[in-house]
């Protein structure tokens, strides 16, 4: 089957996709985006974490066909995504990140799609400008020694970036909970905590 969706702000199309393929396989093997990692393929390690319509998910558990028409952000597009967000925040300091609160609670649908339409527009616009090569979390992971083998890094970066988007000044317990779906076998997590704390501090400082 054919699957068409947007990855990191660019329309993508994959043909001859076997119906049992995961979004992860399509990203890695068909679209040349192997940054999302294939560590467990059972939703137990978080290495393949991507944003699907803004929501962090395990790409290994999304059927390729379910991505049809959706917006995906992978580690390859994280710097651009974070840059677009930070410019949006600076431009309009009154803008709220989360529009879900405006929905009537009694008949609330999942409105993330609507929220992210704006993100997509901004991301596309950002493509014409040279974004910084690294998102704040990426720089912080490098600076604090949070990367060893690096196989868990892409998923952790997506999860950590999303945490800081929601909670700019997280407690250690918040960080641990937000990253509890991302296994790392090398670091013992201490430097990863350091990295998220550092990224939070730098981002808050920059505002």
């Amino acid at each position: 089957m054919r699957v068409t969706f947007t990855v990191n702000g660019r329309p993508q199309q994959a043909d001859d996709v076997w119906e049992g393929e995961s979004l992860l396989y399509v990203l890695r093997e068909r679209l040349g985006l192997p940054g999302s990692k294939n560590a467990c393929e059972q939703g137990e390690c978080g290495s393949c974490t991507v944003r699907l319509d803004g929501v962090p998910v395990c790409a290994c558990l999304v059927a390729a066909g379910q991505a049809e028409g959706r917006e995906v952000v992978t580690v390859e597009g994280l710097a651009q995504y974070a840059d677009a967000r930070s410019r949006r925040t600076t431009q309009d300091t009154t803008a709220t990140q989360d529009t879900t609160d405006t929905t009537d609670a009694t008949t609330a649908a999942d409105t993330t799609t609507a929220t992210d339409a704006t993100t997509a527009t901004d991301t596309t616009a950002a493509a014409t400008r040279q974004p910084p090569p690294l998102a704040p979390v990426q720089q912080a992971f490098i600076d604090t020694g949070a990367i060893q083998c690096g196989f868990c890094t892409p998923g952790l970066l997506i999860a950590a970036d999303e945490l800081l988007e929601r909670t700019p000044d997280p407690s250690d317990a918040d960080i641990r909970e937000a990253l509890s779906g991302n296994l790392c076998r090398c670091t013992g997590y201490e430097k990863i905590l350091d990295a998220v704390r550092l990224a939070a501090a730098r981002t808050t400082e920059a505002r």
């Binding site: 076997w18 049992g20 059972q42 939703g43 137990e44 395990c58 558990l61 049809e68 609330a108 779906g181």
Partner: protein, 303 residues
Amino acid sequence: MEFLRPASWEEALAAKAEHPAAVPIAGGTDVMVEINFDRRRPDHLLDLTRIAELYEWQTGDQTVRLGASVPYTRIIERLAAELPGLAIAAHTVGSPQIRNRGSVGGNLGAASPAGDAHPALLAAGAEVEVASVRGSRRIPVEEFYTGVKRNALADDELIRAIHIRKAAGPQQFSKVGTRNAMVIAVCAFAIALHPDTRTVRTGIGSAAPTPVRARAAEDFLNAALAEGGFWDGGRTITPSIARRFAELCAAACDPIDDVRGSAAYRRHAVSIMARRTLGWTWEAFRAGGDTTGDTTEGGARCA
């Protein structure tokens, strides 16, 4: 394999009628694992993620009608007041990424005895709304589980929503795993106080071929609470009542030995969780406090 993408509930039912062996897929947190590891090769995958109504919920006077695909994250964030037990259970599901995709409908569809939502549904009281081109019906959740990974769905039926009684009193959920996060239940226990009917209901997960209520324990406790005038008197539950309740909960288990835990441990752990959660909920009830039974201050009581 064929990938079916119905755009509406009616189309989904028609597709399921045409292909009764089609495997419904929403969050994919069970189905995709089976496909990735070559354990399942259905002829048809029936994608339910385009059906918006499955992601919606409505809060009525007595119940919450929870769309089958509402992700656990949404339950934690938005329904902790109405469905506190389920919200706590939802918070123990997998990882944040899994909670963003997984849903109660998926838990019911898979009908694994280890599904985290089941004990909370049993304790709260719930009915599963299922439908086919033939019409729809509501199945009490107790009757929905028919065996290990088997449920009461007919071949042409899909789960549309779950009608869960809104909490009238404190509810709790506990789950034992051998890790402090992202772990499948070794066993789990849920309790709900229903002061409106002066009853207590329970749910046990992963300690029998299906999720079960500890009915003898409920009967004992309901009688003991009534006889002792506990509901009116605001008294602390006596240790002997709590102990007997815990024993009867353990006796309701029919567990197995497997790599996740021994049968003996499962019985033991259910009794401990039963005693503790009874204490938490009853103390919350006495304090007239919130429905989560959270009497300790602050904290990240789940949800």
